[in-house]
């Protein structure tokens, strides 16, 4: 700390110290003129002695002849004043309330105490530049007890019932560049804090109307004010009082009379903490906005540019917001495209309406309409047949809803080991819950007839659609492919391979929503050749991947091959390989490269054509790895 080097500056410091001394000594002397009560006289005399002691110290440290005083001298003087200053406070404590009938007595005692308090909050005047007068230049050295790092100007609410304390704080904080608002009591403070925005509250503890602790509690209980840091100011500086303040949420506690250096340091620290907390809160608020935007994208309500404000940040969060907005745009564009594609698909479905039901195979054991099967399923109509058996629409009398019942050919269920394997597959398939998968309900047998029950879907199969339309447009095909990819992604995620993806197993409802049926069912017929022991074809060779035909050792990518065949057929109206016998089909599947779809239908885009060929790759590793990846590749097609 530097000292003072001009007579004016030293005089200023004297003035600052002697003014409160004038009050201490003057009031004490005046009150002593009237006081008769011995204990009151003793207290006043004790305070007066302490006041004169302070005066002596000030006079000897700063005699009128001195025009310079060093920093260490100032510090030593202030340090030496502490004890007599406390003596004044101690001596007058017992005088408060000693003359209840005389309000002026009470006021005068408080003035003595306020003056004593002010002694140690004295501002050391800024050193005047003396160099200019002599023409020499001295670097300005204004580092004084009240100086410190520059403080960001803040709005500070000072709450103190004592006018002089308020004045001192207002003056001091004002000099540091802060904007100060004062409140004379607890209620006024609460009103101000709720109405205006403050960065900090300096709160006196002992106040008549509503004390500081009560004010603190109310500030902290109100969401509108609880984030404003509060520094308590109190003459009570025992640990218990400080703990009480901190526990109730005060940021800090300053004992009265406060040291100006300490005051400044604590206020700066408090404001800096508040600033950092504000920055952090703002950051979290913006993170919330990004999260909200993510939910909005999920529910389809995201408005493009909704994160524009966050995107202006130049930190990582801003970058995230910008990337997110771009991605959300892409997602939306994809969704728009998919909607158009489904619309195309619906047109195809509309056009195919009136299609005749599939021809039924006469050799299956038929269940007559109206019969109640297995004690609960009333057969409504036969809706199809296939390699596995017959399919009926039925009414489940137990659950009161329509179901589809699929009966299984007796030769498929002859082997108990195969049945067990099939059951475990069905258990897995029952876990798949997706709007693109026909839900499997139950497996049972009744009078030797094994059957599956499943969700009944009113609609047509992709088989019927292709047969009716000859072939489908690009958009409708992509709509089918996208939904098929999603169902495969979900099923494969549950560890279920379909094994028999083909147009007959893909149902389309009137809205163009695709549902895949018979997940896991083909397990029943799985052998190395796709043929049952009786030589009956269960899998469908035209849709079987080479590795599925060749061995038991195949994985989910076989379903992707089958999807490739379905898409090929949708786009071209024909199978990739055509043969007059199953064996011929198998041979071509194993050996021949498929034709290029775009060569068969010039409307097909090269990218889609190439994707279909990738699905039809002989080598599983050359195909998209999963339903999820197929979905991504489809989304990238424009």
């Amino acid at each position: 700390m530097n000292g003072l080097t001009s007579a004016e500056a030293v005089g200023e410091l004297r003035h600052e110290l002697r003014t409160p001394l004038n009050l201490i000594i003057g009031y004490c002397e005046m009150l002593l003129e009237d006081a008769t009560e011995p204990s009151q006289r003793a207290g006043l005399e004790r305070a007066l002695r302490a006041g004169r002691d302070i005066l002596d110290r000030v006079t000897s440290a700063l005699p009128s002849s001195r025009s310079e005083v060093t920093g260490p001298e100032i510090v030593a003087l202030f340090t030496s004043l502490r004890a007599p200053q406390e003596e004044v406070q101690a001596a007058t404590t017992g005088l408060l309330g000693a003359n209840p009938d005389d309000p002026q007595w009470e006021r005068d005692i408080r003035r003595i105490r306020a003056a004593a308090e002010r002694l140690l909050t004295v501002e050391v005047p800024t050193r005047r530049m003396t160099g200019a007068a002599t023409g020499s230049f001295e670097a300005p050295t204004t580092e004084l007890p009240t100086a410190g790092p520059p403080v960001r100007p803040a709005d500070i609410l000072v709450v103190d019932d004592n006018e002089d304390n308020r004045a001192v704080l207002e003056r001091r904080l004002g000099r540091q560049g802060h904007r100060v608002t004062s409140a004379t009591g607890g209620r006024a403070a609460l009103e101000l804090a709720r109405r205006d925005r403050f960065d900090l509250v300096l709160l006196d503890v002992l106040m008549p109307d509503l004390d500081g602790l009560a004010v603190l509690e109310q500030l902290k209980a109100d969401p509108g004010t609880r984030d404003i840091p509060v520094i308590m100011i109190s003459a009570l500086d025992d640990v218990a009082s400080v703990v009480r303040c901190i526990e109730r949420g005060a940021e800090d506690h300053l004992p009265k009379p406060f040291d100006p250096v300490l005051l400044r340091a604590r206020i700066s620290a408090c404001l800096e903490k508040k600033r950092l907390r504000d920055v952090e809160l703002e950051y979290l608020r913006e993170v919330d906005r990004v999260i909200e935007a993510a939910s909005a994208v999920e529910s389809g309500s995201y408005v493009v540019g909704g994160l524009a404000e966050v995107a202006q940040r130049d930190d990582a969060l801003g970058r995230l917001a910008r990337v997110f907005d771009t991605m959300a745009n892409q997602v939306r564009a994809r969704e728009d495209r998919l909607r158009d594609q489904v619309a195309e698909l619906r047109k195809e479905i509309e056009a195919a309406k009136g299609a005749t039901r599939e021809e039924t195979e006469a050799n299956a054991p038929a269940l007559p309409e109206g019969q109640v099967f297995a004690g609960r399923y009333q057969i409504l109509e036969e809706v199809g047949s296939g390699g596995m058996g017959m399919v009926y629409r039925a009414f489940d009398q137990v659950l009161g809803e329509q179901v589809a019942i699929k009966t299984l050919r007796p030769e498929l269920v002859r082997d108990p080991v195969a049945i067990e394997r099939f059951k475990s597959e069905i258990r897995l398939a029952r876990h798949i819950s997706d709007r693109h998968v026909v839900r499997t309900h139950d497996f049972g047998d009744h009078d030797g007839t094994f059957y599956l029950t499943m969700e009944y879907v009113e609609g047509i199969t992709v088989r019927q659609l292709i047969d009716q339309r000859g072939r489908l447009g690009m958009a409708a095909t992509i709509a089918i492919a996208t939904q098929l990819a999603q169902s495969l992604a979900v099923a494969h995620g549950e560890g279920v391979i379909h094994r028999d993806i083909k147009p007959q197993n893909l149902l389309l409802d009137a809205n163009g929503v695709l549902k895949v049926m018979d997940f896991g069912v083909a397990r029943l017929g799985n052998t190395s050749t796709g043929l049952t022991q009786a030589g009956m074809l269960v899998g469908t060779p035209a849709y079987m991947a080479p590795e599925q035909i060749a061995s038991d050792n195949f994985d989910a990518r076989a379903d992707l091959y089958a999807a490739g065949v379905v898409l090929f057929e949708c786009l071209t109206g024909r199978l990739p390989f055509v043969a007059s016998t199953p064996v011929g089909m198998i041979a071509k599947t194993m050996m021949e490269p498929p034709p290029v779809p775009a060569n068969l239908n010039p409307e097909i885009s090269p990218a889609l054509s190439a994707l279909v060929l990738r699905l039809l790759a002989k080598e599983p590793a050359a195909r998209p790895a999963s339903g999820a990846e197929l979905g991504r590749l489809l989304a990238e097609l424009t």
Binding site: V10, H15, L17, N22, A114
Partner: protein, 123 residues
Amino acid sequence: MPKILLVEDNEMNRDMLSRRLQRKGYEIGVAVDGAEGVAMALAGGWDLILMDMSLPEIDGWEATRRIREAATGPRVPIIALTAHAMSGDREKAMAAGCDDYDTKPVELDRLLGKIQALLPGNG
């Protein structure tokens, strides 16, 4: 009863000194800053003026100069009061037109002596 004008900006100083002087039998009028001090002094009727030197805006030195320049009629004695306690203050006060000078904290007996000495009829 002698009438004294006390020019003092500090409310507590004003309260304390005026009460102490009233107890000693003086009639006290107060002004809270230099401008008011000048106005009240020139309005007349005072036997003596106690002028605090550190006042906001128009300080005690300037107020004294203005009073001395503008005053007509009998010269009212002015005692300068200051807590600055700088050497040379007395000379400066005299040069500005004061008749005496005292420092704060006030020693009442000493101040009363100076007041007595300057009151009309005592000089």
